[in-house]
Amino acid sequence: MVLTDNYLTRWYRLLAATLLVTAALTSTPLLAERTHELKFATLAPAGTTWVKLLQDWADDVEKQSNGRLVFKIYPGGVQGDEPEVLKKIRFGQLQGGAFTGYGIGQIYSPTRVLELPFLFNNIEEIDYVRKLFMPEIEQGYRDHGYELLGWMEVGFVYFFSTAPIKTLADLHKRRIWNWQGDPLGEAFFNASGLSPVPLSIIDVYTSLSTGLIDTVYAPPLGAIAMQWFTKTHYITNVPMANGIGSLVVSRRFFQNLPQDLQKILKRTGAAIGEQLVTATRKDNVDSLEILTAKGMELITADEDLQTPALQQIRIRAGESLMNNGYIPAATINKINQWLQDFRSNQAAETRHAPD
């Protein structure tokens, strides 16, 4: 019977199709790639803008990779300080982290040329130089076992003190903290002829309370986060340096990822880095306002704490870092040249701008 035959044919086809779909579905786990887990540490506390953005990044990567690349974020320094996190990355216990200049110095120290004291006058200079320098930074990280995913900033660093600092002579009278083991800090203090008190960052708050030190340096956001502002009364309105930061993963982890996941990680990492830079710059501006509202006094420095006296300190600090091999001379010269080009172009544009 034709009707029956057609009916049976359709029934068999339906059965065959169902079996195929079932087979495809049940075989998916066998064919699927394994899930890659990225354990990522940061000092930023949970709930802060930074960690919220990192979590957004993690969610975005998981979504774009269809769950093949998932993050496990450890906020608030639970995995230890930056040297400890780097050690854990080397041992494969962690795969990545967010680092400040202190940790970056142990990854690829020439990057810290961007933190030379009194190098930049404004954000435009920072962005211009960083863009030109970025390919070299990326290669440097790669050569030392890390992949740079995104760039961050800690922001302009200021002196916070218990007495006003208007001049270099004032600075000489202070008991200034120096982050123990930080070559850049040491170079700055040597170049300034200052004798700081080297201490671990862990001891800063207590040492401010006991009077062992009376002056620290930090970005405004950091001064709030670490509550150092409660032990100091003055902020000297001269940005000492611009603190840098990076989002990195180990090269070994990165290379083991399929190419499409590498691309997702690089693309999203760069984007989240930009967002972090924007958020940090805003937070630092807001923090400065909050600190003055909380009773801190913003001190305008006298002439000798302005250029060119500060330029001399920068040059001497740079020379010292060149001599000990922390930053090659070629890198410093290149940065200076780019900066000079930018400033000349800016000056020319200003001259030619219509009134």
Binding site: L43, P45, A46, G47, T48, T49, K52, K72, Y74, G76, G77, V78, Q79, D81, I201, I202, Y205, L221, I224, A225, M226, Q227, F229, T230, D283, D286, S287, I290, L291, A293, K294, G295
Partner: protein
């Protein structure tokens, strides 16, 4: 004898005195205020009964009506310090026990309201300062004058502001006020360290335990503070252990301690501390919830 328009009976000295007394009372205190003040013993008993509650759902359902009753009474008697502190304690407990996990945004607003009540009580206690916005020097000066009577207002102001900040970590202005909370709590410890089950010690346990040493954390100090709070409560208040797991064990990345402490809370006898059954019930509930985060946090 001519007595004017008033009935003669009112001119008897005793009745006259009574009338003057009543009039004076009415001038200083409205009828509503009298009713409110005469009801306060009932509120005391209500708080005691709530603390003994073992049915968390019943407590959750009952609290909003009680809180609105207290706020209604405060409209009648706005300067009533005890009522202000009832309100602060109630909003804190309701938010912490039942709202914070499922709706942190709403919890933040409830803590803000809790702070508003407590801070008014602080002002009534003679410490006219707003720790949310004041400089820490101003807070230190104001608080140094506080005596033992101000302890409840100091504690609830600090506790409510502390939780408000905890849920607002992206609000830098509030984060900058955290040191003010510590100043108030330290004063509570100086004046009466056992106040409210040694909660100022619990605060410092979380304060020093929940941060990396790089950011001002101090694990030894945190441990000592939790230990002192446990001593004050004869190890019967489970919230102490809960916060030690949530803040100190997590920050130390000590998964074993975290796990064991939370399991011990869940397995603690139901009648461990009948006077504080509600808080212990909430601690058990949160312990089970925190265990779900174990894989994510470690």
């Amino acid at each position: 004898m001519e007595h004017g328009l008033l009935p003669a009976s009112l001119y008897y000295p005793t009745r006259l005195t009574a009338l003057i007394g009543i009039l004076m009372l009415l001038t200083a205190c409205s009828m509503g205020q009298m009713v409110v003040r005469s009801s306060q013993t009932i509120l005391d008993s209500g708080v005691e009964s709530m603390n003994r509650e073992t049915d968390l759902q019943l407590a959750r359902d009952a609290m909003p009506a009680n809180l609105k009753l207290v706020e209604g009474m405060l409209i009648e008697d706005p300067n009533n310090n005890e009522l202000r502190l009832f309100a602060a304690e109630g909003f804190y407990g309701y938010s912490y026990g039942f709202i914070e996990i499922e709706d942190p945004l709403r919890a933040k607003l409830l803590y803000r309201r809790c702070y508003s009540h407590a801070q008014r009580a602080l002002k009534q206690a003679g410490i006219d300062i707003d720790p949310e916005s004041a400089t820490h020097e101003a807070v230190e000066t104001a608080v140094s004058k506080a005596g033992k009577k101000a302890v409840p207002a100091l504690f609830w102001t600090a506790n409510c502001l502390g939780k408000w900040i905890d849920l607002s970590r992206d609000d830098l202005s509030l984060v900058a006020s955290l040191s003010n909370v510590a100043i108030l709590m330290q004063r509570v410890i100086d004046l009466d360290d056992e106040f409210y089950f040694g909660s100022a010690h619990i605060f410092f346990g979380a304060y020093y335990g929940g941060r990396s040493p790089l950011l001002g954390g101090d694990f030894s100090r945190s441990e000592a503070e939790f230990q002192r709070a446990a001593e004050i409560n004869d190890n019967k208040l489970l919230i102490v252990n809960l916060l030690q797991a949530e803040f100190l064990d997590r920050q130390r990345l000590d998964q074993q301690a975290f796990h064991n402490r939370l399991v011990a809370i869940i397995e603690a006898p139901e009648n461990l501390y009948p006077e504080m059954a509600l808080v212990n019930g909430i601690a058990k509930q949160r312990a089970a919830l925190l265990l779900d985060y174990e894989d994510e946090w470690f």
